[in-house]
Symmetry: C2
Subunit: 391 residues, 2 copies
């Protein structure tokens, strides 16, 4: 269903999701200087908005995630990426909270991105799509909340790139965020992480099927380049101990080395499989735009080089979470966030969850992590005057 | 110049290097079961072999290194990769030692590899070249030493894949190695490192110019795939702190973000430059074969799963070196080597050099590392009855 800047009646995890068109009345200004006059935002909701409109939680997805937090993925059919955390009595208790997750600007799951048609030309945007930022993603989310009639979020939560959006929300719209949970994230993208993203982008643009970004019009798909990009990135989501425990040097369906270039080792087979499913569901140009947005993220740079300045006077309650084996967004990045928040006397709790699962731990079954979220949400709900959850 | 299993007269860093043909009289058996009846080995020497033939040091090069340890690279013109360590009075003192370094089997700098012509077909080997192992590389080196009339090496030394060759030498030919210096290496390739190698291989084979490995005959070169492989690998040679110190989020020849996909950041520009120079000097199929050899390396697996068994009764003197910020071959891998050597009461010293330069530290100006090498070589030379170096 499609709305036009009107308030939809939330339905619970509608498999088709919701869709809304924004910007017609007031174009959306982007950091690059361009404006978008029509942005479609695809989103999912779970639970119900209370009468006071005070129980909304915005969930921000990661680089290659999407709005299907707890709904089957429309292409792969797999359960939502936080499926186990959403439902009655769960971490994000749908009996208490109204959950919203929208596909980010530049994405490829229904929100306007480079795959969509540029109204000015009638052709797919391709590389004509403006380069976007985390700030642009968040401004579009804020417009969505305007349309939904939600002035203040009870919480905004997200991991990885989702955590960057959480930080951006707090810096740009502090009065609209009662509590914030940035998970496994960083206040700026490191040189090493820019380098890994650049490898992925070069893999894509090196694929002749990328066609200078014009592959849709030319009826081609740069699957090979996107697959290599995914493989390289996927390694950074795991940890050496997790890979060792899961695969070690085990051979894949064979008793001895093949002395060839087939996937002898399970870890090779696993990576190839991850890549082949990914390219079915993701758009190569979206990958370029979204990795660029992440590279550009540097909250301190916009505040005189001092991260704390981004949070001056903030009254939001923070819960910062990192994972001990995450080497993509290591704990020291979360500590930098905490230090900045402490410098402005913000209300902040910080947990480094012990886990050997690497960056992806925020998507996995990690009881300590889930207990941390539940505890923080309960405390914040009490402060906000929301009714308690089940015993 | 080319010899045929005859002893050449060593000349010092001849810019053309030396070349010898091996295997004609006695084919070289490979681990995969195949045999090579003619293998050309390209090598460099520095210094002079003494009358007792007791002062030879074999230097084993890393994945994409070559025999030009201290000679200008014939394609790039850059100084040798250990140029500063070789010469009169230097770490590898050419007044005292006779240094040898040969291009590995499967390489592309003069030693037989997939780029060369298969005598049976008259066409380039391509993927018809047998899959090789670190053991195969070392057996070819042993044949070279036979041809040079060197029964026992004073030392065998190498970093990274070179260090694997050092370990293989000690396991296969312990009586031929008086002392051994494995640097920044591991007794087996980890799952994470196999994964990184697989990304590189997939980048290459995904390049349409790879032509199923037959690109030479088809007059093409898979430069784009090889470039992506190099970029991904290059990140693993550095460290996050070194990248941060060197590049941080500095922009490349611009004052502000471009909001485009050019190399905005210095680290992107650096990676692209590294890749573009690499593809001029390296062969894509060699990259496939040599990374495979590294993945296959697992010294314990060939000795009943017990690494110490690889070194039973060894009398070689060891100096094991790691670097504190190396995450490709972290210190724990070197400790595993040391533990195995201790278990067989071998003579071993171990140094973890404090450095923030990552894996590549073994190629860089690291005074503590160089002092460690000098100290160990002096002690071993005294034991071996070699004359002392300069004061």
């Amino acid at each position: 269903m499609t709305h036009s800047d009107s308030i939809p009646s939330p339905s619970d995890g509608d498999p088709r999701g919701h869709s809304i068109e924004l910007g017609r009345d007031r174009p959306i200004r982007l950091d690059c200087g361009a404006s978008l006059e029509s942005v479609t935002v695809a989103y999912q909701t779970y639970g119900a908005l209370n009468a006071e409109r005070s129980n909304a939680i915005l969930i921000c997805h990661a680089l290659t995630g999407d709005q299907n937090v707890a709904s089957p993925h429309p292409i792969t059919g797999k359960p939502g990426w936080w499926n186990d955390l959403v439902g009655p009595g769960r971490v994000f208790d749908t009996d208490r909270f109204f959950l919203i997750c929208s596909n980010v600007l530049g994405g490829c799951m229904g929100t306007t991105g480079p795959r969509d048609v540029n109204p000015a030309t009638g052709e797919p945007w391709g590389l004509g799509f403006p380069v976007i930022t985390i700030g642009d993603m968040v401004r579009v989310q804020a417009r969505l909340l305007d349309a939904l009639g939600i002035d203040q979020l009870f919480a905004v939560v997200g991991g990885s790139m989702g955590g960057m959006q959480v930080l951006e929300w707090c810096a740009s719209f502090p009065e609209r965020v009662f509590s914030a949970i940035p998970i496994a994230t960083a206040p700026r993208h490191s040189a090493q992480n820019i380098a890994f993203n650049e490898v992925g982008r070069q893999a894509i643009v090196s694929d002749p099927d990328w066609c200078g970004g014009d592959y849709i019009r030319q009826g081609r798909t740069p699957k090979r380049g996107l697959a290599v990009a995914r493989m390289a990135a996927h390694i950074t989501y795991l940890s050496e101990p997790a890979l060792h425990r899961k695969f070690g040097r085990n051979l894949q369906e064979r008793d001895a080395l093949s002395y060839g270039f087939e996937a002898d080792f399970q870890v090779e087979s696993y990576l190839r499989h991850q890549a082949s499913t990914f390219v079915e569901r993701f758009d190569a140009n979206s990958y370029l735009y979204i990795t660029r947005a992440v590279d550009y993220f540097d909250l301190a740079a916009r505040h005189g080089g001092v991260l704390a300045n981004a949070f001056q006077g903030i009254r939001t309650r923070f819960c910062v979470v990192s994972f001990s084996s995450d080497w993509l967004y290591p704990t020291r990045e979360s500590r930098a966030i905490v230090h900045a928040l402490n410098a402005v006397a913000a209300n902040v709790s910080f947990v480094e969850v012990q886990s050997d699962k690497g960056h992806d731990a925020f998507l996995l079954d990690e009881p300590e992590f889930h207990a941390t979220l539940t505890g923080f949400l309960n405390g914040a709900a009490q402060r906000r005057g929301l009714p308690p959850g089940r015993k």
